[in-house]
Symmetry: C2
Subunit: 153 residues, 2 copies
C-alpha cells in the first residue's frame, strides 16, 4: 500500500535521535528503543544494518553503543530505507534480477519508472538533519491532525 515498513521508520527515528544527541559519545540500542517504546532487539538489528551500511559507528562493551558515522546532513532518508528494506520498485514486477515473469505485464512498469525515480529523488533530498530539525513540532496539535490525512484521500 505504498508505505514504509516499520523497520525503516524505526531506523529513521533512531538516526534522528542520535542526531539530536551529539553530546553523548554513544547511545545503546536499548537507550534509543526505550526513548521511543519500540522493541529493543528489533531496533538492535536495524542499527546493525545501518552500521554495516556505514551510517553508524558502533562500539561494544560498557558505555558502548552507536553514534553517527557521518554528518547528519549527509545521510539521506533514501540510503536509510535502502539499507534497511533493500532496493524498492513501486511496481510488483521487476523483483531483483527476475524481471517480470508474467509476459506482457510490464507494459505498465516503464511509465511508472518515472514515479519511482521521483520518489527516490525526494527521499534523497531529505537528510537526517532535516528530520532532527523538526524537534517535536510545537504548532502541531497532535499526531492525528486532519490536514495531512486529507492529502492521501
Amino acid at each position: 500500500m505504498l508505505k514504509l515498513t516499520k523497520k525503516a521508520d524505526y531506523g529513521l527515528m533512531a538516526l534522528k535521535y542520535l542526531a539530536e544527541h551529539p553530546e553523548s559519545p554513544a547511545l545503546s540500542a536499548k537507550d534509543v528503543a526505550d526513548a521511543y517504546g519500540i522493541p529493543a532487539q528489533l531496533l538492535a538489528k536495524i542499527l546493525q544494518r545501518l552500521t554495516k551500511a556505514g551510517m553508524l559507528r558502533s562500539q561494544a562493551g560498557i558505555n558502548g553503543g552507536y553514534a553517527l558515522a557521518k554528518d547528519a546532513r549527509t545521510i539521506s532518508a533514501y540510503e536509510v530505507i535502502l539499507a534497511i528494506d533493500g532496493p524498492f520498485f513501486i511496481t510488483s514486477c521487476s523483483k531483483g534480477a527476475k524481471g517480470c515473469e508474467l509476459g506482457p505485464n510490464c507494459t505498465i512498469r516503464e511509465p511508472l519508472a518515472r514515479v519511482n525515480e521521483t520518489i527516490a529523488g525526494v527521499l534523497k533530498s531529505i537528510s537526517i538533519q532535516d528530520l532532527a530539525e523538526h524537534e517535536s513540532a510545537p504548532a502541531s496539535p497532535g499526531c492525528d491532525s486532519k490536514d495531512l490525512i486529507t492529502l492521501t484521500g
Copy 2:
C-alpha cells in the same frame, strides 16, 4: 517496501488495456485477465471497485463487460490506486483516524509528509493515457533490463 500491490498493478494494466481497445464497446473481466494471464476472479473484483469509483462503466449479460467511463486522459494513476488500495501514507503511523499510538514516534512523520505529497503529485500527473501510449515499448530489450534497477539501489 514502498511498492504498489499487485491489485493496483492489475487495475492499472486493465485500464490501460481498455484504453487501448476503444473499438470494443465492452471487454469482460475474463478477456482482460486472459490477455495478461492474471486470475480472472481477482481482476473481476478489482474492476468492480473501479466501477464503483466511477472510472468504468459495466454491463452485465452477453457481450457485456467493462469500458472506460471517462477519457483515459482524465483518469490518473493516483485515483486508481486510491480506489483499489485505499488511502496511503508512507509512514506507518497515521493509519486512518487512529493517529500514531506510539507516543513521540511521529517526530518523523511531519517531514515525510512532503514525500507523501510528492508521490501523490506524480501519481496524479500520470494518466491512463500515458500508460497506454507506451504500447509495448519497442526499444526495451526485456523486462529485466538493468538500467531501471540501478536507480533503486
